[in-house]
Amino acid sequence: MSDYILRVENVKKSFGGVKALKGVNLEIKKGEIHCLAGENGCGKSTLIKVISGFYTADEGTIELNGKKYARITPAEAIRQGVQVIYQDFSIFPSLTVMENLALNMELMNKRKIVSYKRFRRIAEEAVSKIGFKVDLDELVENLTVADKQLIAICRALLSNAKLIIMDEPTTALTKKEVKALFSVIKGLQAQGIAILFVSHKLDEVFEISERFTILRNGENVATGNTGELDRAKFAFYMTGREFNEEPFEPKNIAGEPVLEVRSLSLKNGYRDVSFKLYRGEILGITGLLGSGRTELALSLFGIYPAESGEIRINGKPVRIKSVKDAMKNGIGYVPSDRLTEGLFLPQSISRNIVVSKLDRLSTKKMGFLKNKEIAAEVEKWIQDLSIATNDAARPVQTLSGGNQQKVVLSRWLATELSVLILNGPTVGVDIGSKYDIHAILRSLAAKGLAILIISDDLPEVLFNCNRVLIMRNGSIVNEINPRETTEKQLAEMATDVS
């Protein structure tokens, strides 16, 4: 018997001339937690689909449990114990937990008639595998994201899984939920199940995996023990670029604060929040989900107006009761969920870039659009922010996360802005784009913009801010100097229960 549950050898796959995989190797031992990392478009997803049988490789072999396949069907892959947990979990939101757990199994057994007794038995068996406590009669749509994921995991375990592939499983989870997920993964490992963990988040790779494989442009660039990896190497392998992580030093913080907040409060959000933000500064606010950080940002942008307290812009008290008020006072906001709050996904890149400047790009009287000037504007921002596209007429949803975020940024930058608030600016963005976005923010600060970053990505605020405020239970509990604080100390301050 082979030690390996999976060996992928020299797999090649192209789609109409585009080479997605150019001879990739991947080896996973039995009961191993292996991390597959790489930027968007590096071939991760294609490789997963080849392993699970949804794509047929053009060349190369896949060996499962010592059996070699040149081509494998999805059914055969499942029989060999391969289970994929997709990012959307492949669940049925309007059905009960019980049905979600049992349906796949029943379909595999080619059942035609439903027996709710049998459904319940299968579901109970599934949840017992990881000791997951959940109401089997609840509709899945009423569960949290983390619970939905556990349902997908339980379901995968039913079919006697030996290798579970998780495609970016932590994207939508809170820190606490990630912890819980990791302990589930460790538990699966103890049962001898191998996990292929697909992620581009460095911390997670370090925490969970024993070995790693990194792909770039459809090729292996590195594989080895996670212990031998460090932050700089990881970033280099992923992107092929060297990054110098110099902490941010503000250039010319001067004079009056641009934005001053005095004992601002919002019921069920935050209370008695005061701080100052100066020109050229990047101020960080961090805290757990539910600490009030997002509500505070939304208040400053007029979405949830504050109930008491005072906001001053350039020393003058202002009323911010709506988004219009905020924009009039030169406040811009980049939301955490750019997909639903920040972008018009099916619309073109160019329209997304110019949408907030149409006033300026149309004729005064009739409001006709000046197409030439719009094109020039779009061209300028694509250049300035190095948005990776060759056709601005394509829908913005075809861009990667990082480039989408740049589009959101570009929208604000041409308006007369004095304060830019970013909520989780690099959530779901790959490393290369993350550095690009940080560089953009730094250069904006250098030009005199005041920037407020709200983020629970601790390295992000430590490296890119010159001051960091910590929020807990709706209040600012501490202000720290990032030069004198480690990530660990910051994490303790944010979660401190004492």
Partner: protein, 337 residues
């Protein structure tokens, strides 16, 4: 306690409550709601829309929408009646139903192919086919009002029992077709709840990609749904002709929107994946009470339309609001975690 809580969350509960309140109100004003003949009359006028609702709901649960079922019913009804008249048919009414179901199936297959095979949007396809069916009926068949074959008349006149109202000196007959409705309900209930096919319809409506990955035959499910609607519509068309004792080619047209509204009112989600037959039937019942019994309150007919519209808006609005609220609650609990 938990069960009661779940009950209060259900749209069906509120529809039933509305029907009861409305009934009591009408009873108090006119004394004519909870009388035998009124209840029989209500049931009688529910039969056709309720049959339609069974099919319409199945499509909506599967994530689509079908507006062609009244056109299917009309053409199936008209073609069947015409053929039976031409041959001066005297046998069992079952043949009429078999023919109606067959014509319905043919038209359902056309919808199914366009939707399942070519993946065209369901609303557009059924708008198009519905127009074609009506066109064929009026143009090719030169439709005009027809009497119906004798066996159909006899069947239409058959009654289970009569309810007599002494006060008004009126009697109403409970039609045999009610049994057919009940049979269809049982079949649909069984399919939706106790077959993998039925659960597949819910699954496809909830998330088509997930359904495919889970191993459901999504193509077959779509085909089944539109064929089923065709068959049910054909049967409903025949039932309608029998109950009206004549065959009017176009007076079913337009009912599709009322039926869809009733289904949605009964808690079936327009986006698919969720809904119960109980809800759909209560929705139809409420709409029927609105259009039949408001007159007992002395409300003129044109106001009934206003009231019906208002009930649809309030009913669907309330369920939409509940969805928003439950989402918000989810956000707060997640924050608390």
């Amino acid at each position: 306690m938990l069960k009661a809580k779940k009950l209060f969350k259900r749209t069906e509960f509120y529809i039933l409550l509305t029907i009861i309140v409305l009934g009591i109100l009408i009873q108090a004003r006119s004394g004519q709601f909870f009388t035998g003949n009124n209840l029989v009359d209500l049931t009688r006028s529910m039969v056709v829309p309720a049959m339609f609702a069974i099919g319409a709901q199945m499509v909506i649960i599967s994530g689509g929408i079908d507006v062609s079922f009244t056109a299917i019913a009309s053409l199936a009804m008209y073609a069947t009646t015409r053929i039976l008249l031409d041959i001066n048919y005297q046998g069992s009414v079952l043949l009429a139903y078999a023919m109606g179901a067959f014509f319905g199936l043919l038209m359902g297959v056309l919808n199914a192919i366009l939707i399942a095979r070519f993946k065209f949007p369901t609303l557009i396809v059924t708008l198009g086919t519905s127009s074609i069916f009506i066109g064929i009926m009026q143009g090719v068949l030169g439709a005009h009002e027809l009497p119906i074959a004798d066996p159909m008349t006899a069947y239409g006149k058959a009654k289970l029992f009569s309810a007599y109202n002494d006060q008004l000196k009126l009697s109403s007959d409970m039609p045999v077709t009610v049994l057919l409705l009940i049979a269809l309900l049982i079949i649909a209930f069984f399919i939706m709840r106790y077959t993998m096919l039925g659960r597949g319809i819910y699954a496809v409506g909830g998330d088509e990609v997930s359904a495919q990955r889970a191993g459901f035959n999504v193509f077959a499910i779509h085909v089944f749904v539109y064929c089923f609607v065709g068959v049910v519509a054909g049967i409903t068309g025949i039932t309608r002709a029998c109950m009206m004792l004549n065959c009017h080619p176009t007076n079913l047209i337009g009912m599709e929107l009322t039926v869809i509204a009733a289904v949605v009112l009964g808690g079936t989600r327009v986006t698919g994946g969720s809904g119960t037959l109980t809800g759909a039937m209560l929705g139809v019942a409420l709409m029927t009470v609105m259009s039949n019994s408001l007159i007992l309150l002395g409300i003129p007919t044109y106001w009934q339309k206003v009231f019906t519209g208002a009930i649809i808006l309030i009913g669907t609005g309330v369920s939409a609001y509940q969805v928003i609220r439950s989402k918000r609650r989810l956000v707060t609990t997640q924050k608390g975690a």
